[in-house]
């Protein structure tokens, strides 16, 4: 354990940017876990007497058209946004990696059918596909999770398939087969753990996209519904006030959104450097 910590410290010392990303991640997770307990105001309590106030000492990020405290709403929204992103990416990674690894390992009709399926998925602009799926599955948070998981699926399938194809004929797999391991055991014990690092890097980048996607969907009125605090909805509500100069309603949730995506992207880059130093750009 101590050795691992020392290694972690060594790696982070050489990657100040990754350290910064980790700090941002801690901040975001802190907001998501403790946020509702910490914020000064009830995020959905309206108070029309103090509507549309600019940022001040009492309302750090100002108030929106219904007098709700923007700061409280931005902090509380972290939980929902991050939860959707994590759920979607985990689901997508779990299904995609198993399916992709099976495609790469067994080849044959499974591979052909799976590859065709991913081609079709990739033929749609992903956001458009997510839009249609949320509409089809019903306008709810779980549909957003499923839709986001499905549009990320092709990336995991392709990655897991490629990584498995490289390894399936390697010596250690052959040895495992000779040793009497069945297909399921080879996949589970010898292949999946080996392709996991590549999948985790992909997952980190995808978390950023998932947050963007969720916010984008709720921005156009799909998925999460008002008055639930969610960054995309808040930006959408603030949009009509931008032209009259009340920037704070949309700007702060927008900034939070940016911070989250930025954090996951940096983290993904940092992880890639650690996992595969050759691909540094």
């Amino acid at each position: 354990m101590r050795e691992k910590l020392a290694l972690l410290r060594y790696i982070l010392a050489g990657n100040p940017v990754t350290l910064l990303a980790l700090a941002m991640l801690v901040l975001l997770l802190g907001c998501a876990i403790l946020g509702p307990a910490l914020v000064p105001y009830d995020p959905i309590a309206t108070n029309t007497a103090s509507a549309l106030q600019p940022p001040s000492a009492t309302h750090w990020f100002g108030t929106d058209q219904l007098g709700r405290d923007v700061f409280s709403r931005v902090v509380v929204a972290a939980r929902l946004d991050l939860a959707i992103a994590f759920a979607a990416v985990l689901l997508s990674m779990a299904v995609g990696s198993v399916f992709g690894a099976a495609m790469g390992y067994f080849r044959g009709w499974l591979d052909t059918a799976g590859s065709r399926g991913t081609d079709v998925l990739m033929a749609f602009p992903l956001f458009v596909l997510a839009m249609a799926m949320v509409a089809a599955l019903g306008n709810s948070v779980s549909s957003v999770v499923y839709a986001t998981a499905v549009i990320n699926l092709p990336f995991y399938i392709r990655l897991a398939r490629a990584e498995t194809s490289i390894r399936r004929d390697m010596g250690y797999i052959e040895a495992a087969r000779v040793g009497g391991s069945g297909h399921a055991r080879i996949l589970r014990v010898f292949l999946l753990p080996n392709i996991l690092p590549a999948l985790v890097v992909q997952a980190s980048v995808n978390l950023g996209w998932a947050v963007l996607n969720t916010a984008g969907l709720s921005f156009i009125g799909l998925g999460v519904r008002a008055p639930t605090p969610e960054w995309g909805i808040m930006v959408a509500e603030g949009a009509q006030f931008i032209v009259s100069g009340r920037w704070w309603i949309a700007a702060f949730p927008g900034a939070a959104l940016m911070l989250a995506v930025f954090c996951f992207n940096l983290l993904g880059d940092g992880l890639r450097d650690i996992v595969d130093p050759r691909s540094r750009t």
Partner: protein
Amino acid sequence: MAFLLRRLAGVVPTLFGVVVAAFVLTRLLPGDPAVFFANSVTADAATIAAVRQKLGLDLPLWQQFLVYAGQLLRGDLGQSVGTGQPVATDLLRLLPASAELTLVAFALAILVAVPLGVAAALRPGSVIDHACRLLSTAGVSLPTFVSGLLLIYIFYYQLGTAPEPIGRIDPFAIPPPGITGFLLIDTLLAGDTEGFAAAARQIVLPAVTMALFALAPLARMTRASMLGVLGSEFIRTARANGLRRRKIIVSYALRNALLPIVTTLGMVFSNMLGANVLVERVFAWPGIGSYALDSLISLDYAPVQGFMLLMATIFVLVNLVIDLLYAVIDPRTGLFHA
């Protein structure tokens, strides 16, 4: 030629899958279209059954699909309830607005990103390199609907240099005769420089918003690819032979670095087609994205289906063009010989 035919044949199963996917997705949409078409929630069961029969909704799903596929082959995308027009007509009417926006943004992104990436690769570690890195990391993190609003706030509200974000032209202005449907070109063809300036002023902010979003992956890939090529031996040889710097960079390095850049271009274009919906929403741009979104919200099947098919078709065609570009850029890929 054989390659071209084979590549075209490869498109067919994908497009078929796209049609199936669009069909299945829209059949899953909530709300009973028969009730919707009967124009009343309280319509009695007999009326609804009659409407259902008329719309063919009482047939088994596979028969409905066959009917649908047959209509598609005749170019019939169905009828929009919202506008009362055939969907194909609507899409054709609105496509130029979206295409103009996307293409202007695409051109803008390429014009900025490629030189920036090349400059960054020529001097790694310099100010330009850091600027390129910052831009490419920040660019992918910036949601288009947030950057769009930010630009509106700065350039419309604070500086007053941009017009109000209410679409392609001033609602009181007379649109130029529609020849191409691209306002920038139509106004020029009509010799209306004032109209051209007005249209240009309207398109600047949405186009910049989209370009910002497309810029990041392009600049990043250009830089990485150029760095790789510049470090290779044939560049060293070219330098040693005393070739001019410009020639080395443009015709030796960039040409060889182009392949991954073009791949990224295809990806970026697809993302832009998706981002269109959001940008059109922010700037009230009357394109196919807004149209699809309005239809989606009012549970109008056919336009959404048509929109998805159009998007997927455009994307498949773009990929086809990119595959052909590969062969032009790098004859070694052997696509024309194989």
